[in-house]
Amino acid sequence: MSEPLLTIAGVNKSFGSTKVLQDVSLTIANGEFLTILGESGSGKTTLLRIIAGFEQADGGTLTMQGASLSERPANRRHINTVFQNYALFPHLTVFENIAYGLRAKRVPPSEIKTRVDAALAQMRMAEMAARRPSQLSGGQQQRVALARALVNRPALLLLDEPLSALDASLRVHMQSELKALQRDTGITFVFVTHDQEEAITLSDRIAILRHGRLEQLDTPRDLYNRPRTAYVATFIGKANLLPNGMAVRPENVQVFAPGSVTPPKDSQSWTGTVKRIVFAGASDLIEVECSEGVTLNARVPSGGSYPPTVQLIVAREHLIPVA
């Protein structure tokens, strides 16, 4: 990890008696794509709004590039935001929307023209410069919102569920555009979403928020392979939770006819009844109710057939201790 861009330390926030954020601390590295992932009500949007400066934290500190952000209003932070519904100015043209931030900073008009034109070209929106936002499609509005933020060359770009308003196929397309944009510009992205797959596809690291607390912050791979809590284990991918505080991924559960193999030394084994087999694309998921009253899912090759009773074996290395 390179040097930190933004350090969030012990941030608390309440609305009335509702604690929205509790003691959230995390460090955002320069140039990374960090996703804040959580269900609705997890506090992810509030955290983003605190970083942007639209909300004031009740406690804790935000330090950006060595300077505290607490006394700095939103319009004086080197941060720009892509809003959930884009929040484009309806009375301004696409060009003026993108130029807005530069005009506010009193950039000379000739430079504004150059930079806005470059931003339009980058988003392949050059022909749309004179249009109003209402004359654009959702995907085009999205690009204008991105251009309007990026043209200011912020140190940090915040994105508040920017893809949620797009239909599925366009969303996948915009995901790859976003990723490419982040690579090309080198700007640090903080992306808020409730969509796990989106988070996994896009992010260098994911911060999982739950009930206002930071549950875990790791790379997508580490979140999947080493979830620290049962919540994370089931939130990122599928997981079987065992009564002994262990989690195991369905693909690490091996299925055998009962008595056909002796379980190896470093493994745990169950015998159970096959409840159902669910088709899941390249593989099937087989649901087994074990004698201990535990139900385990195992991922097995597609199209196989199984006796009513099976033996399940999980190597010890695949048992993940979770809180």
């Binding site: 942007a52 400066g53 639209f54 209003p73 939103a74 319009n75 004086r76 941060i79 720009n80 935001t81 809003f83 959930q84 519904n85 929040a87 484009l88 100015f89 309806p90 009375h91 807005y100 931030g101 506010a104 900073k105 109003r132 936002p133 209402s134 004359q135 309007r148 933020a149 200011n152």
Partner: protein
């Protein structure tokens, strides 16, 4: 779908209402304005004499001009007070928003007459203001220019018509999505810049509507000038009132009324098209 006959049937009451209270009065006003008065009798003889007098006699044009100036001043002052008030209450007041809104509305429950009279007692020679100023030694004798002057009329009408600017301005400001104002801040705009580049242009249709109310209503006002205007604060409607009353010159009164009507309708048509264009420009 309702039947054609039913549709015609329900159209009858409003048509009757409009005919009885708008069409008939305006047609008779139109006719009377071309008649004349002979020895205290209105004679049904067609003439352009009244319109000639309106243009020829400098008094009428002067008072009409003064009325327009007073109405313009009232409009300007109402905008100056109403827009910041609407902005503060709609976008900056937070939880106090509804309370403050009600506080602006409550004076509207009080009769217009009472409010005009209130200014009389405030501005008069022995009024609240003079008494206070003398008490604190600012003045030695009561200021007489306060009451019975165009100033008093402008002050009173501004007090009365500011809510008419405030209400539509507030309504359009309250409808501006919060995210737009946040977006402008996010892009580095100061609160002032955010107001002028986002809030003001997006609430312009409401502001234009409010300005039209203030101008048209104060142009036609005759009670405030009557109560506190004095001889120099006379407005065009006072002339119309006296022509229909003591002077018993209904034809001339009608001619003046029609002129005001045409001016006002023209103004409303203009601002309406302006509002429409602003809304389209807002593009939603």
């Amino acid at each position: 779908m309702y039947s054609r006959a039913y549709q015609r049937l329900v159209a009858i009451p409003p048509l009757l209402w409009i005919s009885a209270f708008l069409l008939v009065p305006y047609i008779s006003l139109f006719c009377i304005s071309f008649w004349q008065v002979h020895s205290q009798q209105i004679v049904h003889q067609w003439t352009l004499h009244n319109y000639g007098q309106l243009v020829g006699n400098p008094v009428y044009l002067e008072v009409l001009g003064r009325s327009a100036r007073i109405a313009a001043s009232v409009t300007a002052l109402s905008l100056l007070l109403g827009i910041p008030l609407a902005y503060c209450i709609a976008l900056r007041a937070g939880r106090a928003r509804n309370l403050l809104y009600q506080l602006v509305i409550i004076p509207l429950w009080v009769s217009y007459l009472v409010r005009a009279y209130a200014w009389k007692t405030i501005l008069g020679g022995n009024g609240v203001l003079n008494t206070l100023l003398i008490h604190f030694g600012v003045l030695h004798e009561p200021a007489t220019f306060l009451l019975y002057s165009p100033f008093a009329v402008i002050l009173t009408l501004t007090h009365i018509y500011t809510p008419f600017v405030f209400l539509p301005a507030y309504a359009s400001m309250a409808h501006i999505p919060k995210a737009l104002i946040e977006a402008s801040k996010d892009l580095g705009a100061s609160p002032a810049r955010s107001f002028w580049t986002v809030v003001f242009p997006l609430s312009l249709p409401g502001i234009v509507a409010g300005a039209t109310f203030a101008f048209v209503l104060s142009l036609g006002d005759f009670i405030s000038p009557l109560l506190i205007g004095g001889p120099n604060g006379i407005m065009i409607s006072n002339i119309v009132v006296s022509l229909f009353g003591a002077a018993y010159d209904w034809p001339l009164g009608s001619a003046i009324s029609l002129c005001i009507l045409i001016l006002v309708v023209g103004l409303i048509a203009f601002t309406e098209s302006l509002e429409k264009r602003l809304r389209l420009g807002g593009g939603r």
